[in-house]
């Protein structure tokens, strides 16, 4: 375990922040790191951008860990290890579907697609405007569609509402999605009939992050989300029977 000081913090709005750490390894969009808050816990977070010598991690407050994280100040030392897992492959004419803090890994993906000159369209939804983090950056790089639960930005409603129309209109050939599990289920229902290939960046409770504890293994494939994921493609997901169903908690029970 290595520890690093927080270089900078950006607050997007109440309970949504980006943290910057020294970059000590190469990382690809979709890969994640484990953040250790001494005395609190250790949890996985996607790298949301690489900016020169820094990496960016973007966090939304949910429970005890992210609440403690919100209280951290610049200069505080946090444990950071990784990068773990496999990232996204890079494809042309893709649609990036992000829900809530799931937008984080898509931000780095957008950077990478952009550098390679690959065309993409962004479809980002959240509860409210400020949760669509770095919306302006997405707008600079791509055609964007926004949705919010409260209508404070883009269309009022769910990110999946106009999905099929956008795919047709924008001549989309590939789908990337990151967000809450229910969004994957919806997305899958809508795009499977279209026969489009896709990659989902998923989340599960994790312990080791290095493929040995078995905590993040998906029924029925036996795939370890921390090693063979967190980005799974259509073929991987064919064997995953637990999508949108029960997950395992720290004890390994389905909850």
């Amino acid at each position: 375990m290595q520890t690093f000081p927080i270089q900078k913090i950006i607050e997007h709005g109440p309970g949504v922040k980006s943290f910057y750490f020294p970059k000590t390894f190469d990382v690809r969009a979709g890969q994640f790191v484990n953040l250790w808050l001494p005395g609190v816990d250790e949890k996985p977070f996607s790298v949301s951008a690489v900016m020169g010598d820094w990496i960016e991690i973007s966090v939304k407050r949910y429970g005890p860990f992210t609440t403690a994280l919100m209280e951290c100040r610049e200069g505080d030392y946090l444990g950071l290890r990784g990068p773990f897992g496999r990232g996204f492959t890079l494809q042309n004419n893709a649609l990036l579907i992000g829900g809530g803090i799931g937008i984080a890994p898509l931000r780095l993906l957008a950077q990478e697609l952009n550098v390679r000159g690959l065309r993409f369209v962004s479809l980002l939804g959240a509860a409210t405007a400020y949760e669509i983090i770095f919306a302006r950056d997405f707008q600079k790089q791509s055609v964007c569609y926004f949705t919010t639960d409260d209508g404070s930005m883009g269309k009022k409603g769910l990110v999946t509402d106009d999905l099929v129309d956008i795919i047709a209109k924008e001549k989309i050939e590939y789908i990337y999605a990151a967000g809450p599990e229910i969004m994957f289920v919806k997305t899958k229902e809508l795009i499977d009939p279209l026969g489009l290939p896709y990659e989902f960046c998923m989340e599960r409770y994790m312990k080791c992050g290095i493929g040995i504890c078995g905590q993040c293994v998906l029924d029925d494939s036996g795939l370890r989300l921390c090693v063979e994921g967190p980005v799974l493609n259509r073929d991987d997901l064919k064997e995953v029977t637990e999508l949108g169903l029960l997950h395992r908690d720290a004890s390994g029970r389905r909850v």
């Binding site: 484990n34 001494p38 816990d41 078995g214 370890r224 390994g252």
Partner: protein, 309 residues
Amino acid sequence: MKTIHLIKPDFLNLKMDSPLVLASGILGLTASSMARVIRFGAGAVTSKSFNLEWRKGHRNPSIIPFEHGLLNAVGLSNPGVDEMVKEIRLFRQKSEAPIFASIFGRTIEEFAEVAKRAAEARPHLIEVNVSCPNVRSEFGTPFGDSPQDTAQITRLVKKAAGDIPVSVKLGPHGPGIGLMARVCEENGADAITAINTAGPGMLIDIRVRKPVLSNKTGGISGPAILPIAVKSVYEVYENVRIPIIATGGVTHWQDAVQMLLAGATLIGVGTAVYYEGMEVFGKINKGIEGYMRENGFSALKELRGLAHE
């Protein structure tokens, strides 16, 4: 995985294509996970250790690598016997390879109860974890440090398990692993699993100035402990006639051969999955087979204990 005839072990009449067993606590929570390990070449799998009620275990960080191995203090987190019985049954539907149910108890009586419940799922072996070093603050000294407790647990589990064979998993420290193995054999154990993690150890972050593991201390596994494991297996072999599931630090095929020469019948592989990926099972299988061909061995049992001569 193609069946390699040379490396079929002779362990308690079980049909196995490789002497390699997935060690308890590694990828052993679900049937799906364990079945995948078999596809990569393990001859059998051991479930995560479970007891009656589910347990969250220790907070993260609970598993951390250091330069020469892993430290872990998972704290025996598990979904409880009900859930695990389902997973073991499911595994038996999915795979023909043997599955070993690893059990523990907070009390001596709980060991027997869990064994009885576990037996319902008809695992091919019940492995009794009396040696977890990571729940000391909660349970006190491991039962495996006491010959009396270990004897009693062995007897009770053996009875509760009925016709299912029982292996007792011992730690490297405590009052002499040779003595403990004898106690287990005398009380009916059908096999010995040696060893659990060593140490325990601690790592302190020098910036944050705190122990990294939430439990502060954790058991050590992986390459650092291979010599301790080899020594333990050698000592157990000198003390009992029942077969040994030799576990601890096996990462390369040469390590596995050391274990066989020390007296192993099966070889447990855990932490190596971190260092070498899931391919580690296939690689070790191939290495053992190559060694046997090169040195003119035609069955694993010909190697067993050769270092004692």
